[in-house]
């Protein structure tokens, strides 16, 4: 019984380690592919697929969250008479925390799962194998452009999320609840520092983008060529990405904000 359990644990850890090894190998072989001038259109294509097509969900979510933040913030701040700091509060929370985290979660659900399903299906229908036999390396042709596309795009989406959120917050606060617009914007301007706040948010979303697109590519590339294998891979992409985003967010915050 005990030996059996031990064996199971051993096999399980071996499986995790070898899977991490395969993921690292995929990443390193995608990274060492020399960026060929022919890859640029492919990367631009992926920026469109992964980024431009995600704008709608990012804008809608950013708007909703910015509006809610302003409402919640207002009800608290107005009690101590400091609703003039509302703009600053909304902006800081969005730029440093909610913008990078929520847009990464949305990116995993919208773009990451699509990448996994696409690559998994290409694998299952032997399109990757046939490309390889034509003498075109699928890592360079399929994996690398998606990696770079996803990597570039998430920080931009996160910024867009925050900007839309702040705008929604100003609509709620200034236009609806009647916070004085001068103080809403000027307190925000004074309080938000590019290097102290905005840059740290961008670093977070660069890390999240890297992790999410890596997980998505690996899950697709390593999926079993069956319908169940594909569904497991897509689920794994969303679940693993989300957990990693939240865990990394904690550690990044710890590291960057010198608590």
């Amino acid at each position: 019984m005990f030996v059996h359990a031990l064996k199971q644990i051993g096999r399980f850890s071996f499986e995790i380690l070898s899977s991490m090894g395969r993921a690292l190998r995929l990443l390193s072989s995608a990274l060492i592919r020399r960026p060929d001038h022919r890859n640029i259109p492919l990367i631009i294509g992926q920026v469109y697929q992964l980024g431009v097509l995600s704008i709608l969900i990012i804008v809608c979510s950013g708007f909703a969250i910015g509006a809610v933040l302003a409402l919640q913030g207002y009800t608290q701040l107005v009690r101590v008479g400091s609703e003039s700091a509302l703009g600053l509060g909304v902006a800081l929370v969005l730029v440093m925390e909610i913008g990078p985290v929520v847009s990464a979660l949305l990116f995993a659900g919208r773009a990451g799962s699509a990448v996994t399903a696409e690559i998994g299906l290409m694998k299952a229908t032997e399109q990757l194998a046939s490309m390889e036999m034509i003498g075109v390396d699928p890592i360079a042709r399929i994996i690398a452009p998606r990696f770079w596309g996803g990597f570039i795009v998430l920080p931009l989406l996160a910024l867009m999320f925050s900007v839309v959120g702040v705008w929604a917050g100003s609509l709620v606060a200034v236009d609806w609840l009647g916070v004085y617009s001068g103080s809403f914007w000027s307190v925000m301007e004074q309080g938000v520092d590019f290097f102290d706040h905005v840059m740290k948010g961008i670093i977070k979303s660069i890390v999240f983008g890297f992790v999410v697109i890596w997980i998505s590519l690996y899950q697709g590339y390593d999926s079993l060529p069956t319908s169940e294998g594909l569904s497991t891979a897509t689920t794994n992409t969303v679940v693993f990405s989300s957990v990693w985003i939240l865990v990394l967010d904690f550690f990044l915050t710890l590291m960057m904000f010198e608590l």
Binding site: T125, E132, M133, I134, G135, V136
Partner: protein, 277 residues
């Protein structure tokens, strides 16, 4: 001595515990059309994957065009593949590209031909498989047999010196079958391309091959020209060639006794019911 396009030297390959090939050795002489036949599930597709360097043997060596696939660098392997063609059993067309773009893909990747030239070559290849009219369609709009004809045109696009075909004759109607098998034969005789045909279709494969290998249970059980094989009277070979279900070559995937499975006896010991035969 003739030059060999492919050499298998004592190759063994396993899928987990299942032994697919055991010390397999054979050659494919350059410029010949070689048929490798065997019942389904013997590892014909696996054999082609070994030839293409997509999987590596557990022991032994595979040489393709004189190169040891185990020692070759990744970039060299991709370079080598530019002069190989492979027809996949499923066709494996790129689903997001049209028929035309599928056939043009290898040309665009590996040549510097201009658009007009590529168009010209693609249409020739598509015409030879009878699908010039389908150039603008997507693979999903074609039947399985038509997809495989497109895949054949794609495999031939760069006029490779070695083409491997995985079951090229399945899913084709009699007319297409005749056209395709003649096409494969011509590629071999006119362009002196080496053809490796892997198939369970004995008649059609024997008709166009110069040399045949019969594979069963990881071993070569017969080899020689089609005439030689007709004369060979080894029982395993006769059973396969004559299509008999019973004989030394098993039709069944390895399994416990049939009756045992049906009545749900664990292990292979039969204790409850005795058949009176």
């Amino acid at each position: 001595m003739t030059r060999n396009s492919i050499v298998f030297d004592n190759v063994s390959y396993n899928f987990g515990k299942k032994e697919i090939f055991k010390n397999l050795s054979f050659e494919v002489p350059a410029g010949q059309t070689v048929g490798i036949m065997g019942p389904s599930g013997t590892g014909k597709t696996t054999l082609l994957r070994l030839m293409g360097g997509q999987i590596q043997p557990d022991t032994g060596t595979v040489f393709v065009e004189g190169k040891d696939l185990k020692k070759i660098k990744r970039t060299e392997l991709f370079e080598l593949r530019k002069c190989l063609g492979m027809l996949f059993q499923s066709g494996a067309l790129f689903s997001d590209l049209t028929v035309f773009e599928n056939v043009a893909f290898p040309l665009k990747e590996h040549t510097r031909l201009n658009g007009e030239m590529i168009r010209y070559l693609v249409l020739i290849k598509l015409n030879s498989v009878g699908l010039r009219g389908a150039a603008h369609l997507f693979p999903r709009e074609l039947s399985g047999g038509m997809q495989r004809r497109v895949a054949l045109a794609r495999a031939m696009a760069l006029d490779p010196k070695l083409i491997m075909y995985d079951e090229p004759f399945t899913g084709l109607d009699p007319i297409a079958l005749g056209v395709i098998s003649n096409l494969i034969k011509d590629v071999g005789s006119v362009y002196e391309c080496t053809n490796v045909i892997v198939s369970h279709d004995i008649e059609e494969t024997a008709r166009i091959s110069n040399l045949l290998y019969v594979l069963s249970e990881g071993e070569i059980i017969g080899q020689g020209s089609p005439q030689d094989l007709k004369k060979d009277d080894s029982p395993r070979l006769r059973q396969f060639l004559n299509g008999l279900p019973d004989g030394p070559v098993p039709f069944h995937y390895p399994a416990p006794e049939y009756m045992d499975s049906l009545i749900g006896v664990k292990n292979t010991k039969r204790t409850i019911i005795k058949r009176d035969d």
